[in-house]
Symmetry: C2
């Protein structure tokens, strides 16, 4: 029964890590907290992730896949290439309203450990580049000029940061209407 339990232990650990790291910050969570939160013994924890940084890395990687997956699922349920660009901000608004929302995990992680941990800094860059690439795809699919994509990115990043710090979901709608203006202005034909 050992191999099966390994997968169970891994996912319990990542669940606990994600809940705790995101809610409190990485440095504020001790390995004992992970152990208590997951029910997985310290011995097994260290067998699966030999150091805290590797658990942090696994947490950020899994969250990246899930975060971008949820975004893409929401966007792709919308019809019309231009509407899809705006749907990004609708999804951000839903996310901001979730209980426990506390800003972007990568922005927070970068602020906390960008200097100390090369891994965290790199994962934050990769996540933002992947998000930027996704927005480029949306803009290209809409036949709009590529210069629009980074502008939409900045609106989204600004919305995440501002919603996190001020604790309000208003930035989602504000960014959405700004993006709508940019999309309309950028449109070559109506």
């Amino acid at each position: 029964m050992a191999p099966l339990d390994i997968d169970v232990a891994r996912s319990r650990l990542l669940d606990a890590a994600e809940g705790l790291f995101y809610a409190r910050g990485i440095q504020a969570v001790g390995m004992d907290d992970i152990r208590t939160g997951s029910g997985v013994s310290l011995k097994r924890l260290y067998a699966l992730y030999p150091a805290k940084e590797q658990l942090v890395e696994a947490y950020l990687r899994r969250r990246d896949v899930r975060w971008r997956g949820r975004l893409a699922a929401h966007v792709e349920a919308v019809d019309g290439p231009r509407e899809r660009i705006l749907a990004v901000f609708d999804w951000l608004g839903e996310w901001f309203r979730e209980p426990g929302f506390r800003g972007c995990a990568w922005i927070n992680g970068y602020g906390e450990l960008g200097t100390t941990s090369e891994v965290v800094a790199r994962l934050a860059r990769e996540h933002k580049l992947a998000f930027a690439a996704y927005l480029e795809d949306l803009v290209r699919a809409a036949g709009l000029p590529e210069t629009l994509a980074p502008q939409v990115l900045l609106l989204a990043e600004g919305a995440m940061v501002t919603a996190g710090i001020l604790g309000t979901d208003a930035p989602a709608a504000q960014a959405r209407s700004a993006a709508a203006v940019l999309v309309s202005s950028a449109a070559p034909g109506a």
Copy 2:
């Protein structure tokens, strides 16, 4: 000679604190580092700031005044109320290009200690609200609709975050041109 030295000690401490906290993050800097960097003895350090959190607070307060002062000085040297809004992004670009630029101290501080330290969380909110209020002033002075101000704020915040994480100054120009579109679209008369 005591009273004079107090001011000297205070400013040396804040200079060291600002350099170290901003460059490495708050938790990564020990009180011994502050002592070494400032040349002020631990005894005096604790006489002036009885706990690390108070030094952090003083650092963020002084930086807030200086940061907004530098921004305002740059903006007010520009003629034309609409050009002033765009000048915000020119100044951001200059800031991003400064050696040692590492993102926004309040965004980083919020990511690092927003959960742990009520003081840091409050100062981050206050700083962002003050910045938002300044942008509102600029928008109002240009006779543009007030809904423009939070949109410009999001572009600026997104530019700071993205420039910090990706280590490029490109977001300043991208945000500037997005803001130019928003300003033009919002203008009631030409």
